[in-house]
């Protein structure tokens, strides 16, 4: 040990940790964690790839096809004529392109009928909304982020819409959902709607931080409400307008901060329990698609261990 004593005058200054900031998003982090911390931990913390990412099919398809439709109208797609609403055939072409690309990411529909169903919804949306909506679109897949001190908050707004012209500060933020409008009278439906409103409130706050003014309103469009051959105009149930109140937005940001704190605590303690009332909070669809459902402390009794070939 004598040789080590040569170092007795060593006086290492303690390293001050330079707190690197993690990014948290509304949907991929905060809402996912609130829905089920156990599932969030497996997918987002331990990076488990889902075995059947089909759940993401409808949402991804809708966002990407409509994005192409908006870009075509604005002339940002090569070989497309600006200011022209795509027709059904063009929507089908975009659909096929997106379908191939999603397959490269392992995302495919549960069955071919689902693909056709989504295509019909998109074509209907395009016919019903294109003429009024597309000319008013200011931007699509609009990325927003803000430094919250401890972390970076980020989100992507589907569409920025200007009701009165492209130079106006009167901007609406739109979000597309592939589902039907949740039923407000059921416990879970109410919760989902609350989540959607929360998402719009947070995006609006982010928008204000970037631009210095608030959007005039948030619009959630439920494409699932366009199901049915006979639909030729927008059903009132397809659109939910979210009033953007200052106090509500601050409350949403506060609530976002709180959930981020809970996520960080879960990380520190490695405690990721499923919600205490299981599928009531997580949603039955989420539990049905969860790869770890048959070992879930809350829901395992509802599921059987799978044996292929047996019912």
């Amino acid at each position: 040990m004598d040789s080590f004593d040569r170092y007795k005058d060593l006086n290492v200054r303690q390293i001050t940790t330079n707190d690197l900031k993690r990014k948290y998003s509304v949907t991929a982090d905060v809402l996912s964690y609130r829905r089920c911390p156990r599932l969030y931990a497996s997918q987002s913390i331990r990076s488990f790839a889902p075995a059947q990412p089909s759940q993401r099919y409808v949402g991804s398809m809708i966002h990407q096809v409509l994005d192409r439709a908006h870009l075509q109208y604005s002339g940002r797609i090569s070989n497309a004529t600006a200011n022209q609403i795509p027709n059904d055939d063009q929507i089908r072409i975009y659909f096929n392109e997106v379908d191939s690309a999603l397959r490269a990411h392992g995302i495919r529909p549960f069955n071919p009928e689902l693909g056709e169903y989504v295509l019909k919804l998109l074509q209907r949306f395009n016919r019903i909304e294109g003429k009024d909506l597309y000319p008013r679109v200011k931007d699509t897949e609009h990325k927003l982020q803000s430094d919250r001190g401890r972390y970076i908050l980020h989100g992507v707004v589907d569409v920025l819409v200007s009701p009165t012209g492209s130079d106006s500060r009167d901007v609406e933020i739109w979000d597309y959902k592939g589902t039907k409008r949740p039923i407000e009278t059921t416990g879970f439906g109410k919760k989902i709607l609350e989540d959607y409103k929360f998402q719009m409130l947070v995006y609006s706050s982010l928008f204000k931080m970037r631009n210095g003014y608030y959007p005039s309103k948030g619009v959630i469009y439920f494409l699932g409400e366009l199901r049915g051959q006979t639909i030729t105009s927008r059903p009132s149930s397809a659109v939910l307008e979210v009033p953007l109140d200052d106090a509500e937005m601050n409350k949403a940001l506060q609530s976002f901060d709180n959930t981020v704190s809970q996520i960080e605590t879960s990380k520190d303690t490695n405690n990721w329990p499923p919600p205490s009332n299981g599928a009531e909070t997580a949603g039955r669809e989420t539990c049905d698609a969860c790869d770890l459902r048959t070992s879930c402390p809350k829901e395992r009794n509802k599921y059987h261990h799978r044996i292929p070939g047996s019912k």
Partner: protein, 748 residues
């Protein structure tokens, strides 16, 4: 805020510890035009580049989204982003009017991240929603899709003249056969070796921007290589996939297309301001295609600021040849006709004890190969000491041990002593740097053993040891028991290394399942159920679903609540997912993860599929091993001794640095030879490939690697060597036969 106020403000930032020197101020204050910053280790390079960014925002009022700042890793990008954010908060506290600057819109990223995100953002038609393949996925794709690796020899034999043409990538040690393929044998190498070599060649064709027409015209193995490459590239894109080399090529296509005009030139709004400033950190590791991208990005503004240290170039294997850094001035002259550019040397070192600086500066200068024209930036001044670190302890010392075990024991004892005497606060203040951190007898193995014996926690995510972990063996063993219950396909595999590792996994599963009846019974029923299915039918579950089904039983269901075990299980999940998502070459609409039964009754999963699974995925795992997952933000956790490769330590600093392997001659010979061989097809006249001999390049690379290792140390550098190394000292000992650079080094 004007420039003087800005400089005053940043000099007063608490905790930075030193004022800006004149050269740092030049970097920060520079106006328009190219800026070439040659920054020695510990010279405040990162802060200088960050302050320059802030100056652009605060003083010049440049739109944040028009600034591109790239660096080498995502962790380094996150570090830059955090510093920008912290310093901006500080500046806003001084001047409230700065609050309106949306500084997080600066595009801070790795170059690959920039390429991918901007092409997505601007919806480049040639890159919409592509799947970006990592190294493993790329190799799995090649083995499945390249005709040259086809199992059908009537197809693959058309490529037989390719392999002997490039022996440096194919005649390498093969862990599956424990031999080296002989180019004169008249037989091709096995598929695993073919794939490994092809991925290297394909990447270099892209990264070196080689003229494939000229290669094709050369005939022979060159022509065949181009055929194989073009087939690979076409299949890749047809299947909406892209590798890390091609994402850069796609980006270059994007930049040259009409679709990039909004990105490059903007529309006059803050949303799309165009590209006004490009700042590149770690420029010494830039390769040909990356240089072309940077010059294209800055073509309009000419505001290209590159920062790096030619002495710290480490990435020849990715085509980074140091030439781009050394010849930056020439490139500006040639490409932009700018006769003279501003160059700045940052040569005051604020990191290390002056004794350490003297040591590694002398080390670099002791090599005659480093003074050859083109090896270093011309006129580079010696490093000077700017740190206040001192003390009466030896800043540089060497320990001679009888053998690796003894050296490792010394290392563990010293760590114990340092913590015990409170000379360090935490084990993570010491790092062990090696050429390879693989857990083997000649690499990190003895050190990991010694630390374990002393109960000293360590962090070595790149030990390639993931497959040694209990939970991984059990999962893979269980998986094999389901997909190949009687081992019929496994027995047909000709490589013992694959069969042996599979037997080990099966054995581990049996051991654990013996005490877990539910798991054992489930696996048996699962396998039997598949065997009972009719011929040529879908199994109804995919490969990843079988993996998840196993996780639902104890002890695996308990292990997924353990943070370390579950993170490792996540790595295997992702590897299985990667394999599952490779398009089947016979029908690209089907992925390899889809399972079908054999066309013969009661034979279970298709024999061909099983055999392919063994040869391609398990062959890859058996030959390469798997690393642990790493945190995307933190470089290493507190409380544990990091064991790192020298490459991993790039950009980092540690109070105490231990370096082992001074005589190691582990060099990437293939990259050097490939570079020389490919030089004749290069479109770049600055290419050094013909300037130095292979031996000189190999030596220069090693010297730079040791220089990086030695210059990580702040307080003390401790060199660890075996006695035998003294009889034939290697490059780590210095450049002259008397290794005078070690003259003042104390032996401990």
């Amino acid at each position: 805020m004007n420039l003087d106020d800005f400089i005053n403000a940043i000099e007063a930032i608490p905790g930075r510890g030193f004022r800006l020197d004149n050269n740092q101020k030049i970097v920060i204050s520079h106006g328009d035009g190219p800026l070439w910053v040659i920054a020695g280790p510990g010279s405040g390079k990162t802060d200088s580049i960050v302050f320059r960014c802030l100056k652009l925002l605060v003083v010049d009022k440049v739109s944040p989204a028009s600034i591109i700042l790239t660096t080498f890793t995502e962790k380094a990008a996150n570090n830059l982003q955090t510093r920008i954010s912290q310093y901006m908060q500080y500046l806003i506290a001084i001047d409230k009017s700065l609050e309106t600057i949306v500084y997080n819109r600066i595009r801070v990223d790795t170059l690959h991240g920039l390429c991918n995100d901007r092409m997505q953002e601007f919806r480049f038609t040639g890159y919409q929603n592509y799947r970006l393949l990592d190294d493993i996925e790329q190799r799995l794709f090649i083995i499945e899709h390249s005709s040259s690796t086809s199992l059908d020899s009537t197809v693959s034999q058309n490529y037989d003249d390719l392999w002997p043409g490039f022996p440096y990538v194919f005649a390498i040690f093969d862990p599956l056969t424990t031999s080296i393929w002989n180019p004169n044998s008249g037989r091709p190498p096995n598929r695993n070796i073919k794939t490994k070599g092809l991925s290297k060649l394909f990447n270099r064709i892209v990264e070196d921007r080689l003229d494939t027409n000229a290669m094709y015209a050369e005939g022979g193995s060159w022509e065949t290589l181009v055929k194989a490459y073009e087939e690979y590239r076409n299949k890749l894109f047809d299947n909406y996939r892209c590798d890390f080399a091609h994402v850069q090529l796609k980006f270059l296509d994007f930049l040259k297309s009409q679709q990039s005009s909004l990105f490059l030139y903007g529309d006059g709004t803050d949303q799309y301001p165009g590209v006004k400033h490009v700042l590149v950190d770690e420029y010494q590791d830039t390769n040909q295609i990356q240089e072309e991208i940077y010059f294209k990005l800055a073509e309009n503004s000419k505001n290209l600021c590159v920062v790096g240290d030619d002495d710290q170039a480490l990435y020849r294997f990715r085509g980074g040849t140091v030439d781009c850094m050394v010849n930056f001035e020439n490139s500006c002259q040639q490409k932009w006709k700018i006769p003279e550019i501003t160059s700045v040397f940052l040569s005051t070192n604020y990191r290390s004890n002056p004794g350490i600086i003297t040591f590694y500066d002398g080390y670099m200068r002791s090599f005659q190969e480093m003074s050859l024209p083109g090896a270093r930036v011309r006129g580079k001044p010696p490093l000077t000491a700017g740190s206040a670190i001192n003390g009466s302890y030896p800043p540089v010392a060497i320990h001679r041990g009888k053998n690796a075990d003894e050296v490792a024991e010394f290392f563990a004892n010293m760590l114990e002593y340092l913590l015990d005497k409170q000379l360090i606060h935490d084990y993570s203040e010491c790092v062990l740097l090696l050429h390879s951190t693989k857990r083997s007898k000649y690499k990190a193995g003895p050190f990991m053993d010694a630390l374990e014996n002393h109960n000293i926690p360590y962090y070595n995510p790149r030990s390639k040891g993931l497959l040694e972990q209990e939970e991984i063996k059990v999962i893979l063993g269980g998986l094999l028991k389901i997909i190949d219950p009687s081992s019929t396909a496994q027995r047909a595999v000709k490589f013992p290394a694959i069969r042996e590792i599979c037997d080990e996994w099966r054995g581990e599963f049996d051991r654990v399942a013996a005490n877990n009846k539910d798991l054992r019974d489930y696996v048996t029923s699962y396998a039997n159920s598949i065997l009972r299915m009719g011929p040529s039918t879908s199994v109804g579950v995919n490969l990843l679903e079988i993996f998840y089904d196993l996780l639902n039983f104890p002890p695996l269901s308990d292990w997924i609540d353990d943070p370390e075990r579950s993170t490792r299980i996540g790595v295997v999940c992702n590897v299985l997912d990667a394999y599952s998502n490779v398009p089947n070459s016979k029908n690209t609409k089907n992925m390899l993860g889809f399972l079908y039964t054999s066309s013969n009754v009661n034979q279970g999963i298709s024999f061909t599929w099983r055999k392919n699974f063994y040869y391609s995925l398990l062959g890859l795992l058996a030959s390469e091993g798997l690393n642990e997952a790493e945190d995307e933000i933190e470089n290493f956790p507190r409380g544990r001794v990091p064991i790192m490769t020298i490459h991993q330590s790039k950009g980092l600093e540690f109070p105490l640095v231990f370096v082992y392997g001074l005589s190691s001659a582990i060099v990437d010979m293939a990259s050097v030879q490939m570079e020389s061989d490919f030089a004749k097809f290069s479109r770049n006249s600055n290419n050094s490939s013909t300037r130095f001999t292979t031996e000189q390049k190999v030596k220069q690379d090693l010297v730079r690697r040791f220089f990086v290792a030695y210059s990580r140390a702040q307080y003390a550098l401790i060199l660890l060597a075996k006695r035998t190394e003294y009889t034939r000292p290697g490059v780590g000992f210095g450049g002259d036969s008397n290794w005078t650079v070690f003259g003042n080094t104390i032996e401990i």
